[in-house]
């Protein structure tokens, strides 16, 4: 049918794993924004959810690192981390191998995406799913952009990946939701974990909501690292969703730095026109 929902959210493991150490008021407002996102995805009638993640050496390593990958399996297990550490029980999420194959085939027309018939979800996908499909009753299509092990694909290629994903979503009969997950600025799992550059994040989200391609591509990894930490490389997932939204305007539903979660916690979405992008 078409892309029917596009949004972004944070995925840091502390969101679930260190939930009891955050200010309850701020945390619960963040969780409520996740609840609203879940309702919006349901209201859109999504039949599958593509999660564009920035996984953290759970499936892909520097021995054979794809810039872009999509899962092509009928199920995915997780979390790969210790369930107690992440505070998410072991789960099996449904996939849709046939749908994956059709999406991948169309994306390959313009992007050399890798495919994976095995994929174990780490917190980058497990945390969003914990809130967005808690019963694991919606087929998941995992996608990944290498944001961890440089050299990383340039930002304009992440944009091209998002454009290809939109074209692919619009080419299948199913109603597709797409979620990008990642930081914005953050220094995860380092001594600076908890540091968040809120002005940088808010400027980025302003560009994201305007869906301003030129402004969103006007970053380079050296500057991003200096101002937004290595976690800032994950803006690639947000850029891919912006490209998939094809010019639609966006809204930030929640943003707040939560240091013990090690990220500026974000829930945002685009106003998708399911009839397809006007540029087609």
């Amino acid at each position: 049918m078409a892309l029917v929902y596009a949004g972004v959210c944070s995925h840091a493991p502390g969101i679930t794993g260190r939930a009891d150490r955050a200010d309850p008021d701020v945390r619960d407002r963040f969780y409520a924004a996740f609840d609203d996102m879940r309702a919006a995805i349901q209201d859109a009638g999504a039949e599958a959810i593509v999660v564009i993640a920035a996984e953290h050496f759970a499936n892909f390593f520097m021995d054979n690192m794809p810039s872009f990958a999509i899962g092509m399996a009928d199920f995915y297990d997780g979390p790969i981390e210790d369930p107690g550490w992440l505070a998410i029980d072991e789960f099996r999420a449904p996939g849709n191998r046939d749908l994956s194959r059709r999406l991948i085939t169309e994306i390959m027309e313009t992007v050399d995406v890798a495919y994976a018939e095995e994929w174990r979800f780490d917190h980058g996908i497990a945390v969003p799913l914990h809130f967005l499909t808690p019963a694991f009753d919606l087929p998941v299509i995992p996608a990944n952009i290498n944001c961890q092990g440089p050299p990383l694909a340039p930002l304009h290629r992440a944009w091209a990946f998002g454009e290809a994903l939109r074209r692919a979503a619009d080419s299948v009969p199913e109603r597709i939701a797409v979620i990008g997950t990642g930081g914005i600025s953050h220094w995860p799992a380092t001594p600076d974990s908890g540091k968040i550059n809120e002005p940088w994040d808010r400027d980025f989200l302003d560009r994201w909501c305007r869906n301003d391609r030129d402004a969103l591509l006007d970053y380079d990894d050296t500057t991003v690292y200096a101002e937004a930490g290595q976690g800032g490389f994950e803006i690639r997932t947000f850029l891919a969703v912006a490209a998939a939204a094809a010019g639609a305007p966006g809204t930030v539903h929640f943003y707040a730095p939560i240091p013990i979660f090690a990220v500026g916690c974000t829930v945002a979405s685009y106003e998708i026109d399911p009839v397809g992008p006007s540029t087609h």
């Binding site: 502390g14 794993g17 260190r18 009891d20 150490r21 955050a22 200010d23 309850p24 008021d25 701020v26 953290h56 050496f57 759970a58 390593f61 520097m62 021995d63 790969i80 981390e81 210790d82 550490w85 174990r120 961890q148 092990g149 440089p150 220094w187 995860p188 799992a189 380092t190 001594p191 600076d192 974990s193 908890g194 540091k195 968040i196 690292y225 930490g229 290595q230 730095p257 939560i258 240091p259 013990i260």
Partner: protein, 122 residues
């Protein structure tokens, strides 16, 4: 030095319950297939989280190794800081320390109220 193989071992350890069991039984034996220096073997067998961070191990890999050893989050962060103090700046890889004030002080600045008493070392 062979940061790649240190991280390769940790990547495989994080993924593989059987390798975790083998590591638990004989830490030195499981490292034999990897091209590691004596310093790296020491860091992986002690384990010395601070030294591993100093060597340049990515935190996204290292934090799970710390969790495997039941090192609590705040302690994990502190061990990395201690490693920088003891061994110097990160030797290889992307990391640089930026002088962050720490989670609790940051949260207080934001006006957040804590759920519990701050933990030592955070």
């Amino acid at each position: 030095m062979s940061l790649y193989y240190v991280q390769k071992f940790l990547y495989e350890l994080n993924r593989d319950p059987a390798l975790k069991d083998a590591y638990g039984a004989d830490r030195f034996a499981v490292l034999e297939p990897y091209e590691l220096t004596d310093e790296e073997v020491t860091a992986l067998t002690e384990p010395d989280i601070g030294l591993l961070y100093h060597l340049g191990v990515n935190g996204q890999i290292l934090m799970h190794f710390a969790a495997l050893h039941h090192i609590e989050w705040t302690d994990y962060l502190q061990r990395m800081r201690d490693g920088i103090t003891a061994y110097g700046p990160v030797r290889e890889g992307v990391y640089a320390v930026t002088g962050y004030e720490g989670v609790d002080e940051h949260a207080a600045k934001l006006g957040h109220r804590g759920p519990a008493a701050p933990e030592e070392g955070d």
